[in-house]
């Protein structure tokens, strides 16, 4: 049975972002109406039963996260929607917010009701200004129609949703750093515990959820947890958006169930390899996860299966690379990213990413020394597990994972004093495919 998209079914239709379209074609705000007749506790139970796992990267069960939000406290509670989407290779929230914003707004309203929050902040990255304009206009319409604001749909509950614009920082995607940034400070992570569920925004109980996670909530309330769970493998239920980029014929966002294998995603959904060149490696979940090789792609693209295969689903940013890509260059490109984005709070990460980048640049340019390889390994290993947030582990991953699988390429660079791939293959000078 072919998979029927539910999150992105209408995204290519002209008016899909409008309230009218949403009400007419997507049973708009029926989920919210239904949710308001239930007890908050029951909604959390439903979300738990559905097995919804966070789509932001960690895959943590959403129902559980909401359950942890402290209830018996006089303090206000908050919902923060993580729309920072800065993980290289990830662009799914972009589509949802731009083409289906009311699904997110409805998700925010239900989540607020479930955790007892009256205010939700959507933290959107500064570069998504065009998306923000759509989102704000549609939020305005939701207010006018009575889905947001005071006494929503006559239920007696209030819910305000505001968009908060970031200003260019990958680290602001980490949940505690996001909270710091929302409070008007540098986006740097906090020591955990306390977790945001206990002391988050303004030191009040807070739930931080990814855009795609919240977009699934109205569907669960409306169609029931069993329906949701049945869409995917056990413990990996629901629809999933996959962002496929790199050397494929038709890069883009594809919705599928997590039964779909990585190979199907790359070769069926994204049209296969650009210029029909051989596939060399795939990063299955955004730049922060280990590489997979062509013979490891016949696994369902679920959180659990990809983890078993030796990588992570992460943010489902699938980056596909063909045989022209030099793996030392790849690590250097990503370490440039991590060096630039390190927030500077933890020394191993701030100093380590700089050293890693410099070492990689030296090796890539052919001036590497034999002991540089051990040094690379040593510096990376001294970042992993020694930082406040998962950024450190993420930054070490491109180095550790390429060194593990493609060590011969590193050694060849040092031995020959240059990149051993043909000069015209150099990743920085690719051929433009006919597909473009």
């Amino acid at each position: 049975m072919p998979y029927e998209p539910v999150l992105t079914r209408h995204v290519n239709e002209p008016q899909s972002y409008t309230l009218d379209f949403y009400l007419k074609h997507q049973r708009g705000y029926e989920g919210l109406r239904k949710a308001l007749t239930l007890q908050p506790h029951d909604i959390i139970e439903q979300v738990k039963a559905s097995g919804l796992r966070g789509r932001g990267g960690a895959g943590f069960p959403t129902g559980l996260k909401w359950q942890f939000v402290l209830k018996d406290t006089p303090k206000p509670k908050y919902l923060c929607c993580n729309a920072d989407e800065s993980e290289p290779g990830t662009f799914k929230d972009h589509v949802l917010m731009e083409r289906n914003p009311h699904l997110l707004i409805e998700g925010c309203a239900i989540a607020c009701y479930a955790i007892g929050a009256k205010v939700a902040y959507i933290y959107i990255r500064g570069e998504f200004y065009h998306v923000q304009q759509v989102l704000e206009a549609e939020i305005e319409k939701a207010y006018t129609a009575g889905y947001l604001g005071k006494n929503i749909l006559g239920s007696g509950s209030d819910c305000d949703v505001y968009v908060h614009r970031g200003a260019g920082a990958y680290e602001a995607g980490e949940e505690t750093a996001l909270i710091e940034s929302l409070e008007g400070k540098r986006a740097q992570p906090r020591i955990k515990p306390p977790f945001p569920a206990v002391a988050g925004l303004y030191h009040c109980p807070t739930a931080v959820n990814n855009v795609e996670t919240l977009c699934n909530v109205p569907l669960i309330v409306l169609n029931g947890p069993e329906w949701f769970a049945s869409l995917g493998p056990e413990k990996n239920g629901g629809p999933k958006l996959f962002c496929i980029s790199g050397h494929v014929k038709t890069p883009g966002v594809y919705e599928a169930s997590m039964h779909t294998t990585l190979r199907q995603l790359i070769f069926d959904h994204a049209g296969g390899m650009m210029d029909d060149r051989p596939l060399k490696a795939v990063i299955p979940g955004g730049s922060s996860v280990p590489l997979l090789l062509p013979d490891q792609l016949d696994v369902p693209s679920s959180f659990d299966s990809i983890q078993k295969a030796g990588s992570l689903l992460g943010s489902a940013g699938i980056i596909v690379m063909n045989d022209t890509v030099c793996m030392v260059w790849l690590a250097m490109n990503l370490l440039h990213f991590y060096r630039h984005e390190s927030c500077g709070k933890c020394t191993p990460c701030r100093e380590g990413t700089d050293w890693l980048f410099k070492l990689l640049r030296r090796i890539e340019s052919g001036e590497g020394r034999p002991k540089d390889l051990d040094l690379l390994f040593g510096v990376s290993s001294n970042i992993v597990g020694k930082t406040l947030c998962a950024f450190g582990d993420a930054a070490a991953t491109p180095v550790l994972s390429t060194m593990k699988v493609f060590r011969a390429e590193y050694e060849a660079h040092v031995r020959e004093g240059r990149c051993t791939l043909p000069a015209e293959w150099r990743a920085r000078q690719p051929v433009f495919a006919g597909a473009h």
Partner: protein, 200 residues
């Protein structure tokens, strides 16, 4: 034997901070429209959390005069009710604030993996050649500033270039000169925009 080199305790040298202060700039205050926008924004946060509006306040100031001077930051500090140092702390962290004047169009070229795989580096090289400047610089007549940025979140449309708040997708190196000419002639209206909002 001390590991450290001998310190030069001459006061002038020792107390000199390496921190580069932004220019003082012209006296600065929000225009009435911006003041109204700021006052509306502050209301979104709890009354004792005005600082949450700091990024918004800085965007307003930057929009009003192009880049952030010390006078502008001081004004933001007064508006928020925090110290000027706190404002500078924030400004120096985020990449979308400028403390030096920038060109009319800021070209943010994405250089991260997915864009690099399809030629982002060559787009930057072409831009450098066409404008006669290096990345990070502004051209002499103040029209273009070229900066490299990390993943913009549109990797399926690589290579991506952001122009001020606008968006240019799939800018291949051979189209760079045409892109610049169009931008000069027709401004931001010439951009491809985000393919998702094409029909709006």
């Amino acid at each position: 034997m001390s590991f450290h080199p001998r310190m030069d305790y001459a006061p002038a040298k020792f107390h000199q901070s390496a921190r580069a202060l932004p220019e003082e700039g012209e006296p600065f205050a929000y225009t009435p429209e911006n003041q109204a926008k700021f006052d509306a924004c502050v209301k979104r946060y709890p009354p004792d959390q005005r600082k949450s509006a700091i990024l918004y306040a800085l965007y307003l100031a930057q929009g009003q005069q192009g880049s952030l001077t010390r006078a502008a930051m001081d004004h933001v500090a007064t508006q928020i009710g925090c110290t000027a140092a706190e404002v500078e702390d924030v400004v120096s962290y985020y990449t979308m604030f400028f403390t030096k004047p920038v060109g009319k169009y800021v070209l943010y070229v994405c250089r991260t993996l997915s864009c690099a795989l399809v030629g982002a580096e060559r787009v930057t090289e072409e831009l450098e050649a066409a404008l006669g400047i290096q990345r990070g610089e502004t051209d002499p007549d103040g029209t273009f500033t070229l900066v490299e940025v990390e993943c913009l979140g549109a990797c399926d449309r690589a290579p991506v270039v952001m122009v001020n708040d606008g968006w240019q997708e799939r800018l291949s190196p051979d189209r760079v000169r045409q892109f610049l000419d169009d931008l000069r002639a027709r401004g931001e209206a010439s951009l491809s925009g985000c393919h998702l909002c094409k029909e709006r």
